[in-house]
Symmetry: C4
Subunit: 263 residues, 4 copies
């Protein structure tokens, strides 16, 4: 019950999968989202899933939008560039096993386009006011570490945190089982899960642009972040509200009423 609606079947040559889903600081979501729009990438598929929250968003004119993950592609235009599949979206899975199920479906899908390399972007909440500006990295194997070493990524995430929760890490862990190699880039951010950190996203963007050898005009980043911020906040806020709603109603009922429970 994870459905991928295909709008177009592009022919891609050894494409890189570049993943930026909502998470700590929304760093991946913002950085990859900005790249998609600046590179005028084309949407070719959308995924929705029973493992997402059971609500719809209302856009500008009261238009109903299912929660989705979207696939865009960019075809290399010059020597040195490469084809890219971008994966971004409104949310990650709600339940633990949902994470695994959705990621397996995503990898099934992109495998058909020949994906062998993945870069995911996530955030690391340091809990400190002054955020470290270094981009941290972790990898599926040593060969990837060597390949990306020149771009100033610090491969010290293992010491600093020890694990990655959600799609940014799982996508690489499961991908590696299928013979895909990958890098997870983590922007460090001081803050709480709900705050979007545009500066951390910009630092990721700088590194990403070097890796994929593309020129990207960053002047509209701040404006874009403001636009996205509102939408991302809405989704996150509602997810938490829906969870708490359930807890509250159960609690208020639990007291005072005579129980006549049958079994």
């Amino acid at each position: 019950m994870t459905n991928i609606k295909i709008l177009e079947k592009p022919k891609l040559k050894n494409p890189l999968l570049l993943v930026g889903l909502p998470g700590v600081g929304n760093i991946g979501r913002v950085a990859v989202g900005y790249l998609i729009s600046e590179l005028k990438s084309k949407k070719f598929a959308s995924l929705y899933s029973e493992w997402f929250f059971p609500f719809v968003m209302l856009h500008d004119k009261s238009t109903i939008k299912l929660l989705k993950n979207d696939f865009h592609y960019y075809k290399a235009r010059k020597a040195g560039e490469r084809d890219i599949i971008f994966l971004t979206g409104d949310c990650q899975s709600l339940s633990p096993n949902g994470h695994y199920e959705v990621i397996e479906q995503i990898l099934d899908f992109v495998e058909k386009f020949g994906v062998k390399d993945i870069i995911t972007v996530g955030g690391l909440a340091t809990g400190e006011l002054e955020s470290n500006e270094k981009v941290l990295g972790c990898v599926t194997d040593d060969s990837v570490m060597k390949a990306y070493a020149k771009h100033g990524i610090e491969f010290t995430a293992g010491e600093k945190v020890g694990y990655i929760v959600g799609a940014a890490g799982l996508m690489l862990g499961i991908g590696y089982e299928r013979g895909m190699k990958g890098l997870c880039m983590l922007g460090q951010t001081s803050g709480f899960p709900i705050v979007t950190d545009p500066k951390a996203a910009e630092r990721i963007l700088d590194t990403l642009v070097k890796i994929i050898k593309l020129k990207v005009d960053k002047s509209k980043l701040e404006k874009k972040v403001d636009e996205m911020e509102e939408f991302i906040k809405k989704v996150e806020g509602l997810q938490m509200k829906a969870v708490s709603e359930l807890a509250k109603s159960a609690k208020s009922q639990a007291s005072g009423e005579e129980l006549r429970y049958i079994g």
Copy 2:
């Protein structure tokens, strides 16, 4: 494990799917339920699901009733009218992924009867004592907004709330992925989730009647609401009690006892 029991296979011509399930203010449940009874619509299928609460209701004479959603149909009798499939029922899904699974099954089923348009009815709890009398609307796309603009619906739900939880929204979001178009009508109500609001239901009914071009005698509405109210309250109350029951028993056990947990 969502089963639809078919009692009859009516031949319908381009039927509208009209959905009123329990929710905030029970506005959809009441308005659509009243239409079904006034139009002497015929039940042709029932759905039960593992995603509903695991209990049965006891009706008047201690008769056991499984929690269900029911399908009724109305065949157009005059020029200007259209065939309608009504979906109403005792409850919505209990778990998040259940919502998606049940709705996919419902859409699979009604698709066979040629459904291409959906209207769902829900409620918006404003939290204010004086309730706004306007019927709010949201849509799958602009064409629907134009089609229903003349009926006095305010398409400002996007500004007021930003999302719709549960079947009223998801049915349209998933339906749109299958090429169905639709409108969600939201009655505004002041109150808490458990209170049925007959006035909000009446306002929805007035608008619905204009849209489907039918004459409906509203004089029995209040009486019907009283009848439904008791049953709806029972279901809701029990759902909450069942959740709290589990939480309570776990809590009372958690203290005082020596733990000898093996793994």
Copy 3:
């Protein structure tokens, strides 16, 4: 992932399914369990399920036992008697959808032996110190009420409680969808979910014996209840402990530790 292991395929003629699973007062479990042992019924199948708690019980000599539901049969020996399939067991499902899944499997299984009638036994916790001695009943339809009216069952459960949680009710609700008819007998008990009430079980036994027209020596009931009590308490206690265990460990970790959650 609900498995039924078949030990024997008895040939049965129009058998009654008689269900007594653990629940309020353990009335069904005790009454049906006693009948099985007094009638020297033979076990012919066992069911275990992923929807039961993930632990095993240790019996007398440190022997490991999976949580199970068991099927026994009794073949009519005299005129007036009828064949019976008994369903009893250690537990009911842990999750809401598990209830539906396990019951569908049970009905699939007994349907092959020609079951068209079901009697389930449950308990009603009144919360009052002096327990009402009447056996309450609820039914799938009026024809059943008439059939069992002469046995002193009060069909007032609908007024007193309004719903039945778990297998005792769902088995009948889902069975009715498959064309099976049935009665749910509820023994009234004052107490808390964990206490076994042998007197309520005895009252049920008296009524059951009349219905199935069998002679049963009740003199060993008290002793049997004591034996069962210990085992039933163990299962129940552990189920609650397992739930609370999880809650506790989460809570103790939640405080004090610096959070560096990545996404």
Copy 4:
């Protein structure tokens, strides 16, 4: 969605399945892990599952590792020895039904190699400061008790605790349904679930070595325990943190905010 990646298909003769997964005192994980390394056993398959926590671990050089269970084998080298399949790993299932599903998959897999005997190792947290040094045992049937009686195992677990939660017990319970016989060895440990108890592990190791008639140098045990300890703590700590994280965010949102919940 439980995947077993096979690296090699060894030919084994009547192999014993020896299981040591994380649990109370991590006794099984440590004892079996040490045996694997001392016997230079070879890894031939890995299992990952949607029922494990949705995160990846970061090893030394920031290398991403999916949570896994691993299968190693040892081929008998001398008369008196027997072939062994070792099952160990990072974690057990997160959800109750996941336990059943993963264990069924494991048994499906090892059945192909001819497994008919299982030994699982677990821990019993006594809650007392001075830990009992006896190794406790429980079995699938009496024949196993006789077979292992000479090794000083006390078959009194049934009196002391009454149940086993998780894989150590379920593997035997479900295995027995498939015709496999088995022993569960429980090391007694004073402590809390998160603390690794190397002494209890050593006591288990002593008994295991006798049973499988192998010579094992125990001098590196302490060092190995220290190495494992760090990793095991990381996994456990994160599992609890992930659960509490969810609870916390729900709670902090639940207060103060105006609720405008639609349905």
